[in-house]
């Protein structure tokens, strides 16, 4: 049996237990002894109806004199609390320890070349808390001393230069909100349903405000070769020295050499003290622990652009340098592995994004794609940034399938999984931006399904 005074969970009072006429009378005339009696009897009747089954005791307790969470003054109202700065950096409430980055068991053998997923199922708005930003490393992460960190720019430049963090942070910075999505996000769903929750299906996705200096400023400073400089190579300082080729027009557009994330320095797991931010482009190009930029006249075809992050096509060819994260969306609540508490009103909410610009519209279907309604987009709606959508829904208790479909400002419509497969086949791993389906069972349990 639960002791509700200790468990910390809230037992809801029965809702709508007062008849409309009585409510109107109380509002108008105030509470008399007679009306108080009516109110009490209605409350108990409603409580008794709810009390059927295993939850009887909790509801009955509530139906007596009222909710113990109200009637018994809690300790936090009767004792001295913690002093300021007891947690000088701050940590989430102890009641929030369920939402963590998690590895998908069995996905990788070694945690230094692995991924930990962001718990999208419990986050709000569009910013990912820095401590929950997804992790993907190729040879483990280090906490690098910023005083010892250097950025070199060389190759087809007039003046090859070295910058310290002190140098870079003297420069006028820009702060922009962008999503970052691993090219392999949702990879496990290319074939069949493989994972239970949105954390594992879509959690290689995060969004932050990044602060740094535009790469164009540094390339200009070094006098890059405007005629022959067609590409840059970004290189990291970790063991894998991750390298990625980026087209110079992209590099000069909105790419940032960033040190800040959500108002603080980058977290070590996300590239402290310096990383590249390449808006709209898959996460592997956002080279962490950035140590070097080389300007060249040809792409480099390095390991992660020649063996991984390439798209296997049905004819056996591989598409190389597939980098743009195309328009995509996912419902985060209700989503796989969640349980609806009762019939009635819900807010269906989720995230939409496009590597090609702003999200223009998100449609939601609750009948597996037969009929769609257009959702509300919550501001701000920014380019190459997550956009939160919401739509009202009253669940009648019948089984149903929830889907969301995003459209970006180029007019591109997020495809169904079978439409993607018709072009790319079934041997692809990366760049799965298909519509996600969540099935709601009669029991209220939500599960991951594919429909088409």
């Amino acid at each position: 049996m639960r002791d509700n005074s200790k468990s910390g969970r809230i037992v809801k009072a029965p809702e709508n237990f007062v008849a409309p006429e009585l409510a109107h009378e109380i509002t108008k005339e105030g509470l008399s002894a007679e009306r108080r009696g009516f109110l009490r009897r209605s409350f108990m009747a409603a409580g008794a109806a709810l009390a059927a089954g295993a939850a009887g005791r909790a509801a009955a307790q509530a139906a007596g004199e009222g909710d113990p969470a109200i009637l018994t003054l809690p300790q936090h109202s009767r004792t001295l609390g913690q002093p300021v700065a007891a947690n000088p950096y701050g940590v989430p409430s102890k009641y929030e320890t369920n939402l963590l980055r998690r590895e998908s068991p069995g996905l990788t053998r070694v945690s230094q070349a692995s991924v930990a997923f962001t718990p999208l199922q419990g986050l709000f708005g569009i910013i990912t808390p820095s401590g929950l930003h997804f992790e993907r490393h190729h040879q483990g992460w280090h906490d690098i001393d910023p005083a010892q960190h250097r950025l070199m720019i060389n190759g087809l430049v007039k003046n090859p230069k070295v910058y310290t963090m002190d140098d870079l942070m003297r420069l006028p910075s820009v702060s922009r909100m962008h999503f970052i999505e691993c090219g392999a996000n949702t990879a496990m769903e290319w074939g069949n349903v493989a994972v239970p929750t949105v954390q594992y299906s879509h959690g290689m996705l995060s969004c932050s405000e990044f602060t740094g200096v535009p790469l164009s400023v540094l390339l200009e400073d070094c006098g890059y070769d405007k005629k022959n400089g067609k590409f840059i190579l970004a290189e990291g300082a970790d063991g894998s020295s991750m390298t990625r080729t980026i087209d110079i027009s992209r590099a000069l557009d909105d790419v940032i050499v960033a040190w800040g994330m959500n108002g603080e320095m980058l977290r070590p797991e996300n590239g402290y003290p310096l990383r590249l931010v390449v808006p709209g482009v898959q996460g592997v190009s956002w080279v962490k622990w950035l140590r070097r930029i080389e300007v060249g006249d040809q792409p480099w075809a390095t390991k992660d652009e020649a063996i991984h992050y390439i798209d296997g096509m049905p004819d056996g060819t591989y598409r190389q340098y597939t980098s743009i994260q195309e328009c995509k969306s996912v419902i985060t609540t209700p989503s796989g592995g969640q349980q609806l508490l009762d019939k009635g009103f819900y807010n269906i909410t989720g995230l939409a994004w496009s590597g090609r610009g702003k999200v223009k519209r998100v449609d939601v279907s609750v009948d597996g794609g037969r009929n769609w309604r257009t959702a509300r987009l919550e501001g701000p709606v920014l380019g190459k940034c997550l956009t939160r959508f919401n739509i009202d829904w009253v669940w009648d208790g019948a089984p149903c399938v929830l889907q969301s479909r995003a459209i970006d400002e180029t007019g591109y419509v997020q495809p169904k999984i079978n439409e993607l497969r018709a072009v790319r086949g079934t041997r692809s791993i990366y760049h799965n931006n298909a519509i996600q389906s969540w099935k709601v069972a009669e029991s209220g349990e939500v599960s991951n399904v594919q429909v088409y």
């Binding site: 929030e96 063991g239 609540t333 349980q339 794609g369 399938v401």
Partner: protein, 356 residues
């Protein structure tokens, strides 16, 4: 204004404009030695490739000591990383297209099936291998290891010496050299998408349920109830139990709210002890199970073997540091030179205690 003053103004203006173009006193020129130290990339046209050479047989020696523990004796292992060798044929070397990529006869796609450029192998081995000690190979060792990989894939013969002089010739034999395309719209932000969907709104074509999570996978990611917030619009499903089948109506609100108090998930729980944490941090568990063999022996197996041996602690610590081979099979263990002595002692003691 005299002509002289005019000239001064003109000069000052030019200097000012020039200053706006450069970040005065921010950063400094890179020296030639600094650039040489970091500029290690090698491109498909072999720009950046240092002079040197290595034989297949020298490569085999390096491979067996430093690579085989993760990649298998023949580069075929799928234990730690995806396999390097397999799925390519002599015919592929002729055509430059790996047939198994189209007919899918190879169960798992290997590195040699996909990689189009030999520079890619050279660059990656040089910058990132061996996995626990990146950038520790000499230039000639890199040539040797790449020669050995190419030999295992039957691209070069047993007596081959790979060098900066002949690497371009080898490129012409890469099995998948013609297998890559850049002709698509997914590199350029303004590129043309390959899939065109239409946003139907009403009475769209009927859909079928095609795939659901298999029952055996229900709890494969731990108890999902512990991975959701314990209050709010929804709860996490208790995946330690079978799915409920009864409709919600009649079960009551509280019955549908199973999570009382958040609990840390097993996957993210702090390590039980320091030695286990050390083993995790140093990727020991990639090759060793706590109980059973993975690539190398399970820790409990090691403990059983050395039970009662008073000198085993010091010997095991030394062995972890220096690496070894032959005791538990042909695949050698690479040295773990990064470990401090105290950590070595802790690890050895913990292993000999049964890794509990």
């Amino acid at each position: 204004m005299s002509r002289f003053t005019k000239l001064l103004f003109a000069l000052a203006f030019v200097a000012g404009a020039a200053q706006a173009q450069t970040l005065v006193n921010v950063g400094r020129p890179a020296t030639a030695r600094e650039i040489a130290a970091w500029d290690i990339d090698v491109r498909p046209d072999f720009k950046g490739l240092p002079k040197g050479s290595g034989t297949v047989s020298a490569g085999m020696a390096v491979w067996e000591g430093k690579c085989a523990s993760c990649h298998g004796t023949f580069g075929e292992s799928n234990e730690v990383f995806t396999p390097i060798i397999g799925g390519t044929t002599a015919e592929d070397i002729k055509t430059g297209r790996v047939a198994a990529l189209a007919n899918n006869r190879q169960p798992q796609r290997t590195t040699m099936m996909k990689v189009a450029t030999v520079s890619t192998l050279w660059d990656y081995v040089n910058r990132a291998m061996p996995w626990t000690a990146p950038k520790s190979l000499s230039t000639d060792e890199v040539y040797s290891v790449v020669a050995y990989i190419l030999n295992m894939a039957e691209v070069v013969p047993d007596d081959f010496t790979l060098s900066d002089k002949n690497i371009a010739e080898v490129q012409k034999r890469m099995p998948n050299r013609n297998g890559m395309t850049n002709a698509h719209g997914m590199w350029d932000v303004k590129g043309k998408p390959d899939v065109k969907s239409v946003a139907c709104m009403k009475d769209c074509p009927p859909t079928d349920l095609r795939s659901t999570l298999p029952d055996v996978s229900r709890n494969a990611h731990g108890n999902v109830a512990e991975q959701n917030r314990g209050f709010g619009a929804v709860r996490g499903v208790d995946t330690t139990k079978p799915a409920a089948t009864a409709p919600l109506a009649g079960r009551g609100v509280a019955a549908a709210a199973p999570v009382a108090r958040p609990a840390a998930a097993p996957a993210a729980a702090p390590a039980k002890n320091n030695a286990l944490a050390l083993a995790q941090q140093n990727a020991c568990l990639g090759c060793h199970g706590l109980k059973d063999k993975v690539v190398g022996p399970g820790f409990a197996q090691i403990a059983a073997k050395y039970k009662g041996d008073a000198k085993a602690g010091a010997a095991l610590a030394a062995k972890i540091k220096a690496g070894g081979s032959g005791v538990w099979g042909p695949v050698p263990m690479p040295p773990q030179a990064q470990l401090k002595d105290a950590d070595l002692q802790a690890l050895a003691g913990w292993i000999l205690n049964g890794a509990k």
